[in-house]
Subunit: 343 residues, 2 copies
Amino acid sequence: MSIKQVAKEAKVSTATVSRIINDSSSVSPATASRVWRVIRKQNYYPNTHARTLVSGRSRILGLIISDISNPFFPDVVKGFEDVALQNDYEVILTSTNYDARRMASCVRRMVENKAAGVAIMTSEMNRELIGDLARRGIPIVFLDVGKARNRMSNICVDYAQGIREAVDHLCALGHRRIGFISGPMNLKSARTRRSAFLHCLNEYHLAEDSGLIAEGNHKIDGGEVAMYRLLKLKKRPTAVLTSNDLTAFGALRAIHHVKLRVPDDISIVGFDDIELGQFTQPPLTTVRLPRVELGRMAYDALSRLLHGSSKRGSVYRIETHLVVRSSTSTAPDAHSSGRPARS
Amino acid sequence: MSIKQVAKEAKVSTATVSRIINDSSSVSPATASRVWRVIRKQNYYPNTHARTLVSGRSRILGLIISDISNPFFPDVVKGFEDVALQNDYEVILTSTNYDARRMASCVRRMVENKAAGVAIMTSEMNRELIGDLARRGIPIVFLDVGKARNRMSNICVDYAQGIREAVDHLCALGHRRIGFISGPMNLKSARTRRSAFLHCLNEYHLAEDSGLIAEGNHKIDGGEVAMYRLLKLKKRPTAVLTSNDLTAFGALRAIHHVKLRVPDDISIVGFDDIELGQFTQPPLTTVRLPRVELGRMAYDALSRLLHGSSKRGSVYRIETHLVVRSSTSTAPDAHSSGRPARS
DNA sequence: GCGCATAATGTAAACGTTTACATCACACAC
DNA sequence: GTGTGTGATGTAAACGTTTACATTATGCGC
């Protein structure tokens, strides 16, 4: 059961066994193979906790997300976990449930478990808590937070690119009144997406009409309610971008409910490209955010912070691109004036 | 940083600090509050690994699933995690990716991390591996495996109930040719669902026509392909049950693609009731399997095994029920002969 | 004031590893 | 034969806790 018993049966010291398990450096092949035999025979597994205790390094990586039942996250988790596992790291997954207080407990758990590094894939942030981790020398990877410092890297999603492609696409189809359904404005990621949209509108010299912007909650019901609001406008938008796909699903639902058709009467563009978007009626045109890759990148960033030569963090970039399906088409009121020039 | 420093600053022994952190039994309130002050001031967190090492108990629970990006699992994970956390357990999540070999590594990781208990929510099983856990005295909770033994409990999903309700519902609507799209037959859970369906058909004295049974893969594409097969039948079914919702989504897609209508031409019933089922076109009639509750129950079962008086495991039962939405309606060829009697 | 139960606290061993350092055997140069 | 470098192995301390046991202080009955 313990290294001692292995050592005893193999007639070597515990030090030798330890060396064999870990690096095999400077141990004779003969002894090594004999000890390996005993290890297999006894079905011995080293005790992680003892290892961590003495060596100080833990081979545990923390992954903090908002909520696993938000379809954005499973792929991120998968990407992160797969590659972490391949490198013999254990992953501890915690969720904030969008609640800043639970963030504190997430961080505490990371510290208690002596996580070697932490990837924070949620935007509920807390300066002090981060400081807590930093002070303990734990490398951190953030999502969409602008700074790279010592032992802190940052993954920046280029929302603007995808949104630009979407607006581009809609303008080409003759749309001029383009609405937007945002996420909850207390969420950093929602604000980022929203401002990328507004910025883009400017580039196209389209009037920024705050009436065309509704706030959702990044869930289906919120998207539905927000879409009803936009539909009640006397001059309703001919196309609507949404802050995430679930919101778009809600919008589709609302439109269907008032007996309008997508894309004939209204075009809808989602964001994220969750798998189910292919199967809505009609299949959803959306901006793809590669989530598995995001998870993988979070691991890579962490790994570089852990094993890299420099302790200085970096900023990584994830691209987003439009995926055209069937929820967008020509604007119903399209004149032949063509698309506006990009500024 | 360590208990010693706390002890030193509070002018007590490490034993006293330990007692204060853990049980507070037989330590004077005065000392306790003084020590707590120091703990907070130093921002001290006990080292989990040291704790586990000496005490032998680990407050880590293992959760083994197939694949987090299968929409069945996030809710299970959520249910399990939430209640585990409330009870100060850490959760280690591992995925088999439907691969028996990876199951071995999942189990090894559980042992290495000295998990206090393990919930295995996937049907890829392996006798030896389980024995490995059992021999180490680690309590286990299974899903849909019939035995309860020492330190082993089992959660049984009552698939039959929900399927019975579904067939009942379809028969009441005049359907006689009811098809079934199964999951991959190498999956235990898929086989269980399939045989529950066949059994039910018997109860209704409906002919068991193997041509009406197609094999999918529990994913959308598989459901789609399987549905095409059923549609090509010279006497195609008027209603189709599916082994899970994703399969049903695929079926909807296939039907839509050949310009038939759901439910007018064909009724579809899913299984699981994943959230997105409400938002398909039409919203999916399905059998609800309460996943969050399943996760919670897995924790409870584990907890009882850990802290309960008896080491003997139990069998728990999860009910499934039909949720009627809009993907089912009267059979197109319905005669007025009424529904067949239940045997 | 004495003895004794009880409450509060301290001492030190133990948990299973890793690792710096010590030891040993051996070969090789001189 | 002596010294010295090297490769293989052993010894023992250390990691940060918990906990059985020991010790000390406190209060109470008589």
